[in-house]
Amino acid sequence: MRLRSLVAAAAVTALGISLAACGGSDSGDSSGGSSGGDQTLTYWASNQGTSLDNDKEVLTPVLQKFTQETGIKVNLEVIGWNDLQTRIQTAITSGQAPDVVNIGNTWAASLQATDAFLPFDGEAMDAIGGKDKFVPTALATGGKEGTDPTSVPLYGLAYGMYYNKAMFAAAGLQPPKTWEEMVAAAKKLTNPAKNQYGMALAAGSYTENVHFAFINAAQNGADWFDKDGKPTFTGDGQVQGVLRYLDLMQKDKVANPSNAQYDNGTKSVNDFATKKVAMIINQNNANSSIAANGMKSSEYGVVPFPAPADAANQTASHVAGINLSIFKNTKNKDAALKFVKFMTDPGTQATLGKPFASLPVLKDAKPVFTDNAEEAATFQDIYNTKSKPLPLVPAEDQYESTVGKAMNAMFAKIATGGTVTADEVKAALKTAEDQVAASS
C-alpha cells in the first residue's frame, strides 16, 4: 500500500509536469560567471597533489588569501585528469564555462584554436604583471608562435632521469651522461630471471609515450610539424627516435614487458619508489609520489634524460607543466586577470611549488619543490635550457593521441613477443599522420 501511495503521488506530480519542482536546484554553484557586482570567480584546477581532496586542502588557504586581498571570492573545483579535457571541451562548446581554468600546457595551441579563451594581449599581459616575469621558454608554451598567448605558465615541470643511488653504487655505476651509458647501466641492473629490471616505462600511457617520441626525435633534430602546421611524422629522425625508445623494451630488454600495461606514470614511479627498478624518466612532480611511497630524496639522484653521443642536440625534456587560461566569455574579466596575477606572483608560486612539486615559471624564482639542492638545480637547468615546447600547432592534441596510441600498440606488440621494425614504425606513424591530416 505504501508503494501505491508513493507511486500515486508521483503520478500526480508527473502529470503536473512541474519537473523543476523536484529539488536539486540547491547545487547550482558551479555555473559560469555570476552577474554584476557580485565578485565570485569559478576556478577549475587540475589534479596536482596526491588526491583531489589534497589539492583542495593545499589551494584553499591560498585562495582565501586572494579573497582577503581583493574581496573576490573564488569557487574552486579540482578536476581529475581523466575528466579535465572532456570538461573543458563541453565548457567551450556550451559557453557554460568557469572563469579561469588550468590546462596541460601541451594543449595550449589546440585550445587557442577554439577561440574560446582570452588572449593575453599587451593590456591583459600588463594586468598580470608583464611577460618579462616569466621564463621565456615557459611562456612560449602559451599559444602559437607569433600570436598573443591564450594561457600563461602556472606550474613548471620537466623530465629528469631518476636513479637509485644505492643500486648504482652497488653495481659500481656512475650516473649516465649519454643514451648509450644509460642503456649499459640499465642492462647491468637487469636480471629478468629475478624479475629485476633496470628501468620502468609508462609504456601503456599514450601521453607519456608521445612525450618520449617527441624528445627522442628532437634529439635527432627532427620536428613533427612543418612551418605551415602540416604533420611530418615519417622522417628518419622521428622513426629512429621512436624506435630508440621502443628498443628499451625490445632490443635492450631493460624494461619489464609488463610495463606495456602501465597506463599512467604513477605505476612506473611506484616501481622506482619501492626499489623494484633503478631508473625512471619522469617529470619532477614524481617527487611527491616517491615521498608518499617512503623513499627519501637523499636516496636518489637526477640527471638530464641523456641523448645519444652523436645526437643533433641535447634536448632532455619538453617544456612540461600546467598553464592558466581565462575563458573569453567571462563576466569577470578584471577579477580573473587579478586572479591570474595572484597565482603567478612570486609569493603564491613559492607556496604552491612545494606541495605540487613544481618548478617556478618565474625568471628569478628558486625551486622549492625539493630539499635536495642538487636535484633542484638539475631540474631548473633542464627546464630553463634543455627543454623544447611540444609542437605549437592546433593539431597538437591529435598528434598526442594518434602518435601516442600508435606507440601503445607497438609496445603491446613487443610485450606480447612480437617485433617492431623501423619500417613498421614508419607505417604506424604514416597512419597517424593521415589521421591528423584527415581531420585538420
Binding site: 508527473a14 502529470l15 509536469i17 581523466n82 579535457q85 572532456t86 571541451q89 567551450i92 562548446t93 559557453g95 589546440s110 584554436a113 577554439t114 577561440d115 574560446a116 601503456g204 600511457s205 599514450y206 614487458p257 609488463s258 606495456a260 600495461q261 597506463d263 592546433p394 592534441d397 591529435q398 593521441s401 601503445n408 600498440a409 603491446a412 606488440k413 610485450a415 606480447t416 613477443g417 597512419t431 597517424a432 593521415d434 589521421q435 584527415a438 581531420s439 585538420s440
Partner: protein, 326 residues
Amino acid sequence: MSVATTDAPADAAKPARSRRAGPERRPGLSRWLPYLLLAPAVLLELLIHIIPMLVGIWMSFVKLTKFYIANWSAAPWAGLGNYKVAVDFDNAVGEGLLKSFGVTIAFSLITVALSWTLGMAAAVALQPPFRGRSWVRTLFLVPYALPAYAGILTWNFMLQRDTGIVNHILVDNLGLASDRPFWLLGGNALVSLITVAVWKLWTFAFLTLMAGLQSIPRDVYEAAAVDGAGNLRQWRNITLPSLRPVNLVLVLVLFLWTFSDFNTPYVLFGTAQPPAGDLITFHIYNASFLTWNFGSGAAMSVLLLIFLMIVTGIYLFVTGRRSRRA
C-alpha cells in the same frame, strides 16, 4: 501471470485489440485522456531523446571541429563530407572505423551466442526443483544486479598481468603457461572483453529463459516421457519451441545491448584501449572527444544507428514471417 503468445516486440505496439473495456465509455474525456496520460512521457522523450537526436543528425552535416565548437553557427556546411571520410576505407579514418566495426561484429556475435548458451544451460539445469535451487538462482543473478562499473573494475584487477588472479591460476597454480600472458592488450584483449561482457549478460539471459520455462506446463513433459522421449529430445521438441517467443526478443535485446556497449571497453581499458578492444561506440567517443571532430563523430553515430535499424528491421521481418508460417 498469464503469458500471451504474440511474437516480436514491435507487436506489443500493434493496435488490434478487439475487446475494449470501460474507460472508453465516456467519449468526451476518453478522447483526451490518453494524450494527457502520454504527455509527460512524450515531453521527456522529446527533450532527452528526440531533439538531441535531430541535433546530432544536423551535426553530422557540418564541419564541427575545434575551430568552430565555441561558435556553432559559424561552422561551415559539410554536406556529405563527414560521411565520405567515414566510409572511405582507403583513408586512415575510414579504415579505423571499418576495423572497429569488424571487432564489434565479432564481439557481439560471440557474446550473444555465449550468453544465450550459458543462460539456457543454467535455466535447464535449474528447471526441476532441488534443494538449494533458490540459493543457486540468487547467486547467478548477482552479476546482473551488480552495477556494471563495479563488476568491470573487478575484472580489470583480475586481468592484470602480474597482480591478477587470472594469471595466478593459469600460470602459478595450473602451470598452463610459462610466460605470463597479457589480457588487456594485444589480441587477448578481445577475449577479455567478451569474457567480461558475457559475465554480466549471461545471467540476464538466464533470468529471462528461466521465467519462460516456468510457463511450460509440467504435464507436457510427462506426456513426452511416457512416449519415451529422452531429456535431450524433450528439450529439442518441447522446451525450445515453447521458448521461441522469448528467444526472439531475448536475442534481439542482447544484440542491441552488446553492439552499443560502451561501459565495458571504457571501464576495462580506460585511455589505453588496444585495437582488438576498440568497440564502435568507444571508437566514436574517441573520434569525437579526442580529436575534437564532433561532426565526423556524429556521422559515424548516424551510420551506426542506420545499421542497427536495418539489422533490427530484417530480424523482425524474417522472424515474423517464419513464425507466421509455423
